[in-house]
């Protein structure tokens, strides 16, 4: 029996997958499907950050009253989809449970379609007494079972499961952080610095360099410092670690030959770093080249103490630096007025959901936010396709960074227009 409460134990340990159980269940009722129907809740199509195990566990619990009071069975599939098999359960009661789950994900594009409408991708209902529906659902269940088997096989072959931000290992904890932090202070990181260009595309289609972001490759850093620890596994402790990374990076960047550098560069720093003695030392050594440096501050750091942010921002500006706010995603971008942060640049991470079946009202919201932030301050990062660039241009954004921007840069360099 597929009990939601058991979901926290890793599925498939018993050998029989939820998918196999589901197919078995369908076979048993095949000949007498009286009063039977099923609902397939497509949680596997949630945005990745919503499709986390603990979210799914909580969502599954919304069906508990149904399971307790009616003849209903819930299957929590390994791809995070939920399947509810019911016999003679009042549709209103099912609706209620489904509505609860829907509400939990109300900011996810998956729930944007009107409930029950043609565009609704959230649930699919099957009346199993209808032959056609039964066949369709059976086929779906078998397909899901095959996929699950494949996934399981892959997982056991490749013992590294997809961890958060695709980094393997156990999460950071205070103990391993202490050791990593210590090693971080000693190890050479200059060869771990990577760069990526951000560009401005002008009206005439020509482009120019905005800045080259210099950053430490976390994957490489992990390999060098702690191959068994997922540095992203705990966001607060990771944030702490970045304070040390900042300091190390400043010592490397201080030795750059700024005079012969054609473009500006950008650096990711914590606000606490900007206000530290190390930064003062850095500033003394680079002097008037501050105007060639954009300092990228993370939104989470900014929100931790807005007063401190304002102070750091003013101080940076006064010393010639430009200030960029990084770490905005399509959701967070809509929850505050980015213009009020009064930064020089604001970086918004592109995501595919911008392109999907986003209702017009959401696009309008986005337009309002872009205008509040100031079109000329926006940098659309992580652009991975032409569609991303076109989307940005359509909202008046003409600064870009990402794999696709890299391709454009190469082409422009080849044509000599950059």
């Amino acid at each position: 029996m597929a009990d939601a409460a058991n979901f926290t134990t890793v599925p498939n340990l018993s050998g029989t997958s939820e998918e196999t159980l589901l197919v078995g269940h369908l076979r048993r009722i095949q000949d007498h499907p009286v009063g039977q129907f099923s609902i397939h809740v497509h949680l596997s199509e949630l945005r990745p950050d919503n499709s986390q195990q603990n979210f799914i566990r909580i969502a599954a619990r919304a069906f508990e009253p149904l399971l307790a009071n009616f003849d209903a069975t819930l299957y929590v599939l390994s791809n995070h989809d939920l399947v509810l098999l019911c016999r003679d359960v009042p549709v209103d009661d099912v609706d209620q449970a489904v509505y609860k789950v829907r509400a939990l994900f109300s900011e996810d594009p998956l729930t944007f379609g009107d409930e029950g409408s043609f565009e609704d991708r959230f649930t699919t209902w099957y009346d199993l007494t209808q032959k056609a529906d039964f066949r369709a659902f059976m086929a779906e269940a078998i397909k899901l079972e095959e996929e699950a088997n494949k996934r399981q096989k892959l997982d056991s072959e490749d013992s590294a499961p997809a961890a958060s931000y695709s980094m393997a290992g156990k999460p950071l904890d205070p103990r391993n952080l202490a050791a990593i932090n210590q090693r971080m202070m000693e190890v050479n990181i200059s060869d771990l610095l990577r760069q990526q260009m951000a560009i401005t595309i002008r009206e005439d289609g020509k482009g120019s360099a905005l800045f080259r972001e210099h950053y430490v490759s976390m994957q490489d850093l992990q390999r060098r410092l702690a191959p068994n620890v997922n540095l992203f596994g705990n966001s607060w402790l990771f944030q702490y670690l970045t304070e040390t990374i900042d300091r190390r990076m400043l010592t490397v960047v201080a030795h750059f030959d700024f005079e012969s550098m054609p473009d500006s560069i950008s650096l990711n720093l914590n606000i606490s770093t900007v206000l530290s003695r190390e930064f003062q030392t850095f500033h003394r050594s680079i002097g008037h080249n501050a105007r060639k440096i954009v300092v990228e501050l993370q939104l989470i750091d900014v929100f931790a103490d807005l007063g401190m942010y304002a102070f750091a921002r003013d101080q940076l500006r006064e010393n010639g630096y430009r200030v960029l706010i990084d770490g905005l995603n399509p959701i967070s971008f809509q929850f505050f007025n980015p213009g009020l942060l009064d930064a020089d640049l604001i970086k918004l991470g592109w995501s595919k959901e911008f392109l999907g079946e986003v209702p017009k009202s959401r696009l309008d919201d986005m337009r309002v936010q872009v205008n509040l932030a100031g079109k000329n301050k926006m940098v659309l990062s992580r652009v991975d396709s032409e569609g991303a660039i076109l989307w940005g241009l359509q909202l008046g954004i003409h600064r870009f960074q990402g794999h696709y921007a890299d391709i454009i840069v190469e082409k422009m360099i080849a044509k000599g227009i950059i």
């Binding site: 926290t8 945005r47 950050d49 919503n50 986390q52 603990n54 979210f55 566990r57 909580i58 619990r61 609860k100 509400a103 939990l104 994900f105 109300s106 900011e107 996810d108 904890d173 205070p174 103990r175 952080l177 202490a178 932090n181 705990n234 966001s235 607060w236 402790l237 944030q239 702490y240 304070e243 606490s272 206000l275 530290s276 003695r277 003062q280 939104l299 989470i300 929100f303 931790a304 103490d305 807005l306 007063g307 401190m308 304002a310 102070f311 003013d314 101080q315 006064e318 995603n329 959701i331 967070s332 809509q334 929850f335 505050f336 007025n337 009020l340 942060l341």
Partner: protein
């Protein structure tokens, strides 16, 4: 006006200039006088920017004729240094300004009060007194903006270390979190009331916040360590505290809980198994009496998780409060869309000193959010309540509110005693 816009100067400019001026005066003490107007002690509604400007303008002519030097401090106090010869004129001007504020308790109750409207000094005889006074004022003003500038200078870092202890390190954090699982924290739980106020300023509790006293925790577990020195490590520590709080709340014999309560949790905790079991173990009607407080940095660290968690707990009947918003943060964040039931606005004297424009701005934000949904917290003075009420806030929390509650309890106790005495007197 002394509106400091140059953060690299450690001292607000007028204060700094005043101190420089006094140092220079050391060599030219004779024949000079000072009047200090305590405009900072005026009621907030009398201390708006245009009032102070008007008062300062009265001295302008003396400044132009080089007979005096004027300083208007950030807290609205005015220092005017002048030559002996013009003393009668200065006295007249001060009388005029005093008249402007004649309806203010500072003037009305001057006879009973320790703070006078103005203090008069002879530089020659009072030089050291003046120097001390100004240094104290500047230190106080630095304390207000302490959070802005203590980061970079070693002196303040040293001072913080002496006062608050060694900064927390990952190693120590690991030890603390370990120890926490074995320590009984129930005697470190404190309670503070969130109250509305009657017209006579009698507090009426709406609910109370339960929290683990970090000071006590530090004393018990790690004297000499500053648990809050690093924001991120502290944030991690709070996740452990969350679990302890939940387990204490589940055992009703550990904490006596009466009335509606609020407590702080991390978004991550709401999504954890521990919260699930806590929720399983409490009765449905108790959920309605619980308000869960979340920090904005935690909310914005993973907004998607917050939205999910908020929906999840509100559907169960809990209410949600966003804790710790400065007025600047309140302006930036779309509170409506975050969908919380309450928001806590942190009191800071800066809000009052900011002038009419900021007052109007705050008033509009409160109205937009809903007067019954904004709590002014860390209320440590009567001034804070005055200000809060002037911008439409109806709910308050903080040391001063606790003080009012204690006062009210004493009053009731006395009243009861009095009644009892009256009854026994009436008895035959």
């Amino acid at each position: 006006m002394a509106r400091d816009t140059q953060p690299v100067n450690r001292l607000p400019s007028q204060e700094k200039l005043l101190l420089d001026y006094i140092h220079r005066l050391e060599q030219h003490r004779d024949g000079r006088k000072l009047v200090h107007l305590h405009l900072s002690a005026l009621r907030p509604f009398n201390r708006r920017e245009h009032h102070i400007r008007a008062a300062a303008e009265d001295f302008e002519s003396f400044v132009e004729s080089l007979d005096g030097q004027l300083f208007v401090l950030k807290n609205a106090d005015i220092f005017f240094f002048y030559k002996e010869e013009i003393a009668p004129h200065v006295e007249t001007v001060v009388q005029q300004i005093r008249y402007l504020f004649s309806d203010d308790p500072l003037v009305l109750e001057e006879d009973e009060s320790e703070i006078k409207f103005s203090d008069w000094y002879d530089i020659e005889t009072h030089y050291d007194v003046i120097l001390n006074l100004v240094q104290d004022l500047i230190n106080a003003s630095n304390d207000k903006s302490r959070s802005f500038n203590n980061q970079m200078d070693t002196r303040s870092a040293l001072k913080a270390k002496q006062e608050k202890g060694e900064p927390l390190t990952p190693e120590v954090l690991g030890r603390v979190e370990n120890a926490l699982t074995r320590t009984d924290l129930s005697n470190m739980v404190r309670r503070q009331y969130i109250c509305s106020l009657t017209r006579r300023r009698v507090p009426e509790p709406a609910f109370s916040e339960l929290f683990i006293s970090i000071a006590d925790l530090r004393e018990t577990l790690l004297p000499g360590v500053n648990l809050m020195a690093n924001r991120w490590l502290f944030q991690h520590l709070t996740e452990t505290l969350d679990r302890r709080m939940l387990s204490m709340l589940s055992k009703t014999d550990t904490l006596t809980i009466s009335g509606d309560i609020s407590f702080n949790l991390n978004v991550g905790t709401l999504l954890s198994q521990e919260f699930q079991s806590f929720d399983d173990n409490i009765t449905a009607n108790r959920r309605g009496g619980m308000i869960i407080e979340l920090q904005k940095v935690d909310i914005f660290a993973n907004l998607g998780a917050y939205l999910f968690a908020r929906e999840f707990i509100q559907a169960k009947g809990y209410r949600v409060c966003i804790d710790g918003l400065s007025y600047q943060a309140m302006a930036v964040i779309d509170r409506e869309r975050l969908g919380a039931d309450f928001v806590k606005l942190v009191w800071h004297p800066e809000m009052m000193d900011g002038g009419e424009e900021i007052h109007t701005h705050i008033r509009n934000m409160i109205r937009y959010t809903g007067e019954d949904r904004v709590i002014l917290c860390r209320v440590d003075s009567r001034e804070a309540i005055d200000f809060g009420q002037s911008v439409g806030i109806t709910l308050f929390q903080g040391r001063h509110i606790e003080h009012l509650i204690a006062e009210d309890n004493r009053r009731r106790e006395l009243l009861r005693l009095k009644r009892r005495m009256e009854r026994s007197n009436e008895a035959p």
